[in-house]
Amino acid sequence: MIILEATGIKKRFGGVIALSNGNLKCQKGKITGLLGANGSGKSTISKIITGVYSADAGEIKYEGRIVKYKNPNEARKDGIAMVFQNLSLVADLTVWQNIVLGAEEKNGLFLNDESAKELSKEIIDQLLPSLDINKKVYELNPGEMQIVEIAKAISNRPKLLILDEPTAALEQEQVKSLFNYMRKLAAEGVAMIFTSHRMWEVMEICDDVTIFRNGMDVATMDFSKECKDPEKIISYISGDTKKAKVEKSRKVLTDETVLSIKDLNYGKYLKNISFELRKGEILGIGGLAGQGQNELMLALAGNYHGVRCIAEVKGKRVKLNKPANAIRNNILLVPGDRQQEGLFLKHSVYTNMIFPKMALKHQPLFIPRKKYREECEQIIKTLSIKTHSIDTIVNTLSGGNQQKVVVGKWLSFDTNVLLLADPAKGVDIGAKRDLYDYIVRQVREKNMSVILYASDNEELIEYCDRILIMYEGQIVATLEGDDINEDTIVAASMRVRDFGGEHVG
């Protein structure tokens, strides 16, 4: 029996279309899997169903009536619960206090702690029996925290439970317990939507699977009728068309190593990363979202004081413990979150562009206004930044133009290594093309070296000479030459096939 039916969902964020035509059906007591590459829309449609976002168009029918939730609380009252990734826990409270947070039962005037503990114990025992519900959440590791988030969503006795990548932080044993619990819930008639990037999980627990690509659902496979074929699923995710690799006019790759990284380690985010970057090379960093790519870019830019690694720029040892060091060695970063990390939103284009110069050692006390303004005008032309004037405040510019400003501020610097952390995210097609045109030109004409992390595999395919795939903080695969295409990237990202990295599970 169908409990939820989403039809024709459209959603755009600024200039980017997240969903052009999203359709999804869920049945009572069945576990529906959602699969798709980064940016395919699978996460967006889940968030629309629970009310985190609102759809621009389309209809959602829940239990036969049309619904449109303004926030997750409304959805929750209707019986739809979503398990986030650590978005709703209070670290200083205990496990059981968090599980009942916001929905505590009362005994007259006072809290009924007994029933809260009982309820929590009941749920936790089935998910992770060794977990002490009296522990404070800050004492837990990420896997345990995720379990608590799941328990919290379940404690509301939802009719539709959406689990968005719940297994990302879990270990094998915990995943098995979770699946057992999910089967129990299914037997009780609860409908579930389950997203994961681990193929074997989807095949094990889901009754059916809907695959998203480019903002719409492209296939649905019912496992009670069809057989589970991972290769088929991959081809749905990546698209059947094996695009012929555009023959880029090959630049001469010198043998000179511009950047050498050995044994880069940072806490739990980055483990044993080693690679070399040649002069004139565009090295891509790929993989599923959140596997440490952004952290790697920040680490290379010197943002982490406690990072441990042996780094050499053109043969010279460099300490990557503060951004000033990286910049002085001409390792320049275009950060992943341009608004939080790359711009001064309330200041003008001009101010943003000249700011990094201020930290340089030989910067004159009085800012050479005329010279810098001319430089700025020049950069605007070079990158085709659409702005009324260089004094326009940056937060009035479109995403694409903002990103150009972020890139633009490094233009007057000599660049050894340009680090690009998902530069085209949220950027319209025209600006994206401008940016990449410029970068490719610099690489060809000046032998600039680039490390490019892109969440959109197309960008990796089109521009990179070599791609390193990251998974859980490590490099698990290296793709080169003819090996670079959508299929291989997806497969390596999901650890289905072995590409010379770690042994696949």
């Binding site: 830019a301 943002n303 951004p323 000033a324 910049i327 002085r328 970063l333 950060p335 939080q340 990390e341 790359g342 711009l343 001064f344 939103l345 309330k346 200041h347 101010t351 000249i354 700011f355 990094p356 110069k357 201020m358 930290a359 340089l360 910067q363 004159p364 006390l365 009085f366 800012i367 206004r369 659409k386 702005t387 009324h388 004037s389 004094d391 326009t392 405040i393 009035t396 501020k409």
Partner: protein
């Protein structure tokens, strides 16, 4: 075509946004003067205006200290400015002893005090990461205590050097001399903030510390220096205070702390940091002094002054700072 139009409209809006707060501050002052003229005669006379601006100058100078610390971001405020100034006034009174010869010694002492206070405030706030409000409040208490110790049982003797009296208390014709100081300070400050790399670094750090850090700026050092500047400036203002009053006494500076912060808010300078239009602070100071005069003229005295300040500050905080956007 539409894109271009909207960009132009955006630019116009920018101009409006930038000067909106100025205009508001200015209108508020005019409003007060009109109110004053209605209720109390002779409120709107040249002599009164000049006197108001003279008194406001001191608020504005303290306001500069606040503005620098606030501009550095992270919720910075300096509550120790009042007692730093007082400390300097009290200690240098007997050094100067009414003569000009020892003025240079007094200035050295002032610089020393300001440096010590500023460094302690700066290190504790920027490096140890204690809340600036509590650090500077505690520092203010410590200074107050130190002054108590120093003056225990005896009167504070000593008079300011005549130079100081000339600058702070006297006038050239009808123009109070302090206004010249204020004008010079304003010009210097605006030049430093808007034309030099230091100003730009300060604004960057206050505006977005992550972006500033990723651009290679030493954020902690900049914030620490902001406190040092505030300490040294407030200490030097102490010299002007004693020049104006002729003697030093224990509570000389403490009444300036609140107005110095209020002047920054009224002047439209962002409390979140990244912004530093000193002209706004001056306008804010004039507004507050006018408000004080009006309340005094109406016979509401100290009570009215503080209630008025508090209410005005609260209302402006609602208008400028509150964050009512729903999540």
């Amino acid at each position: 075509m539409n894109n271009l139009m909207s960009i132009q409209n955006g630019a116009l809006q920018n101009v409006y946004e930038k000067y909106k707060k100025f205009i508001i501050a200015f209108l508020l002052i005019i409003f007060l003067f009109i109110l004053g003229e209605i209720t109390v005669s002779n409120f709107f006379s040249l002599a009164q205006i000049l006197l108001t601006i003279k008194l406001a100058a001191f608020i504005a100078l303290f306001g500069l200290c606040q503005m620098v610390v606030i501009a550095a971001g992270d919720g910075g405020l300096d509550l120790s400015v009042g007692y730093t100034a007082t400390m300097t006034a009290v200690l240098t009174a007997s050094i100067m002893d009414g003569m000009n010869e020892n003025l240079w010694k007094a200035i050295l002492v002032a610089l020393g005090i300001g440096l010590v206070v500023g460094v302690i405030n700066g290190v504790l706030s920027a490096y140890v990461k204690l809340p600036p409000l509590i650090v500077t409040l505690a520092m203010s208490n410590i200074l107050q205590g130190a002054i108590n110790v120093y003056t225990a049982g005896k009167n504070i003797t000593g008079k300011p050097s005549p130079v100081l009296t000339l600058i702070a208390a006297k006038s050239t014709g009808i123009f109070p001399n302090i206004l010249f100081i204020l004008a010079i300070v304003t010009v210097v400050v605006m030049i430093i903030l808007y034309k030099t790399k230091w100003g730009l670094m300060l604004f960057g750090v206050g505006s977005n510390e992550t972006t500033a850090y990723l651009s290679g700026v030493n954020v902690k050092l900049v914030r620490c220096i902001a406190f040092i500047i505030s300490g040294v400036l407030s200490s030097l203002i102490g010299l002007l205070l004693i020049g104006n009053m002729g003697i030093a006494f224990k509570d000389m500076g403490s009444n300036y702390v609140m107005p110095s912060i209020a002047a920054v808010v009224v002047g439209g300078v962002s409390m979140a940091g990244g912004d530093g239009n000193y002209l706004g602070v001056i306008l804010g100071s004039i507004f507050l002094q006018t408000l004080t005069n009006l309340l005094v003229a109406l016979g509401w005295g100290d009570a009215g002054k503080w209630t008025g300040f508090g209410t005005v500050l609260f209302i402006l905080l609602i208008v400028y700072v509150s964050n009512r956007r729903s999540r």
